[in-house]
């Protein structure tokens, strides 16, 4: 089973966002991780490959040259090869553009049964790229996959998370899955994995390498401005002689003052 995992680096979720000149201040984005949802996709892919006992996992990632370090972490987790898409034309891509680049790269990699990626990036929270990608590859997709019940020759049955439960989806393969956080915990790279990652095939491709004209990648979604959310003021600590008294006073405040119960 050959799997292509599309991953990207995102700022650590502990990042405190700052705004400068009406946009996110790049200086506040100083710690980078594998996008957590892409990490779930990697873990699922590793387990699928290892259960099948054959096949390879190719990481495909768009990012600046510095992203190489994060992509190597994916190799250290156990993926087999990586393709790093680096080009000035890839800076500031929106999901539509990113999907065009990924589709071109995936077609060049070729020979796969499954494309797996995170359902969204924890940076701009679009949750679109994997689905655009499926359409551009002419493949079915299943989004927010939490569990693979069965995967075999040309077909899979998977579960996706929806409000109040799971939808059980049957799909033909190849397909594109986007990962929601499921039952599997992404593994930490071992020391051996980290050392081995340095010797794994790692290619760097530009827009020209995947046959794309930068003019067709201009974002259609423009971020006009960014602000920080209004600060919440700390409210009041409800006091009382006993726990019961505090609880009664809180219930009263919620009904009479806040009017929410």
């Amino acid at each position: 089973m050959n799997i292509i995992v599309c991953m990207k680096r995102t700022p650590d979720t502990a990042t405190k966002i700052a705004v400068k000149d009406g946009q996110i201040d790049p200086a506040c984005l100083d710690t980078w991780i594998i996008n957590p949802y892409d990490e779930y996709a990697i873990e699922e892919a590793l387990q699928l490959r290892d259960r099948a006992g054959e096949g390879k996992i190719t990481l495909v990632s768009i990012g600046p040259p510095e992203a190489q370090e994060t992509i190597r972490k994916g190799l250290a987790m156990g993926c087999d090869e990586a393709v790093h898409l680096v080009d000035d034309a890839f800076a500031g891509l929106d999901p539509l553009g990113a999907a065009k680049v990924l589709a071109a790269a995936i077609q060049k990699v070729g020979d796969f049964d499954l494309v797996y990626t995170g359902w969204k990036g924890v940076d701009e929270d679009h949750g679109q790229t994997g689905i655009y990608l499926a359409e551009f590859l002419g493949l079915p997709h299943v989004s927010m996959v939490v569990k693979i019940d069965d995967i075999g020759d040309g077909e899979a049955r998977v579960e996706r998370e929806v409000e109040g439960g799971h939808e059980l989806v049957r799909t033909s393969l190849p397909a594109v899955f986007t990962a929601q956080k499921g039952e599997n915990e992404p593994r930490y790279p071992t020391l051996r994995g980290i050392m081995g990652a340095k010797k794994k095939p790692f290619q760097t491709w530009s827009a020209a390498d995947v046959g794309l004209d930068p003019a067709g990648l201009q974002p259609v979604q423009e971020i006009l401005s960014v602000t920080l959310p209004p600060q919440r003021q700390a409210g009041r600590i409800v006091e009382g002689e006993t726990v019961e008294e505090k609880a009664r006073e809180l219930a009263r405040l919620l009904r009479e003052e806040a009017k929410v119960i």
């Binding site: 979720t13 502990a14 990042t15 966002i17 705004v19 996110i24 957590p36 999901p95 539509l96 924890v122 929270d125 679009h126 949750g127 679109q128 689905i131 359409e135 079915p140 939490v146 996706r160 998370e161 929806v162 409000e163 109040g164 799971h166 939808e167 059980l168 989806v169 049957r170 799909t171 033909s172 397909a175 956080k181 499921g182 915990e185 974002p219 259609v220 979604q221 423009e222 971020i223 401005s225 960014v226 602000t227 920080l228 959310p229 919440r232 700390a234 409210g235 009041r236 409800v238 726990v243 019961e244 505090k246 609880a247 009664r248 809180l250 919620l254 009904r255 806040a258 929410v260 119960i261």
Partner: protein, 328 residues
Amino acid sequence: MSTNNVLVVAEHLDGQLKRISFECVTAAAEIAGSLGGQVQAMVLGTSLPAALAEQLGQAGAQTVFTADDGSLQDYAPERFAQVVADTVRRADPAVVLFGATARGRDLAPRVAAKLGVGLASDCTGFAVKDGRLVITRPMYAGKAIAQVALQSSPQMATVRPNIFPPAEVAPDRQEATIEPVAVGEIAAGAVVEEFQAKGGDRPELTEANIIVSGGRGMGGPENYVVIEALADALGAAVGASRAAVDAGWRPHSDQVGQTGKTVSPSLYVACGISGAIQHLAGMRTSKVIVAINKDADAPIFKVADYGIVGDLFDVVPALREAIRELND
């Protein structure tokens, strides 16, 4: 050149329109008012009850496109997206809105891809400037708020639940024009075969009006009965922090925060949750926040409207009792 109309792709379950669809109609009416266009709606399914189109009309849609076909019984993204994309080409709206639900988040990007246009996700506000939308949407799970514009047409967006009030169904409103949509044979590789309910009768987290959440301070999965009892007294959903989910105490579907759900209920009760930045991002837009924590220095108190410093195992049952007394 498109029309100035705004099309809402409605969602229904068990023969009922979902609340989010009426919320989308409210957003659509605001936009259509500024553009000088109509509100339109679309429903897809098999043997659709006439009431669906009727109610969308009574909520404010002037035209309702109905795609009623045997092949639309079970959700299949490729097929549904093709039908919506064909209808969008025919109706030529300026704006297309979906709910930011599991369904809408799945369908909208596939439609946008078929049309080769951009899409703004999980939007919380719309303004019109020079005939184009200025869209408000959170990023970084709400740590930042962006104003975005889409350079492609139609302008497509998914609308976050619980932000816009649902449009009122007024039976005396003029009837909507029903436009049936012909559905041809469309191949689909992926098809939903079954729905498995999980989580019992409590409201769903992203749709809930009240949420009671438990974190690391819960100490173990068995202690959530305390949270559940308070939730049931309030008709609330149960949430959890990442610490509780990573410990295996609660399923991920309960997680509130940057790698979980972003929620905006009227009341959020955080029990034994310290208030890590990732958690605050996911719930800070709640109307009223209550914190119950034994650590008076916990960051959660800095965003809480009301706080009780104390052991949650004493405070939460006492609060449930106080609410019962209030309701009697």
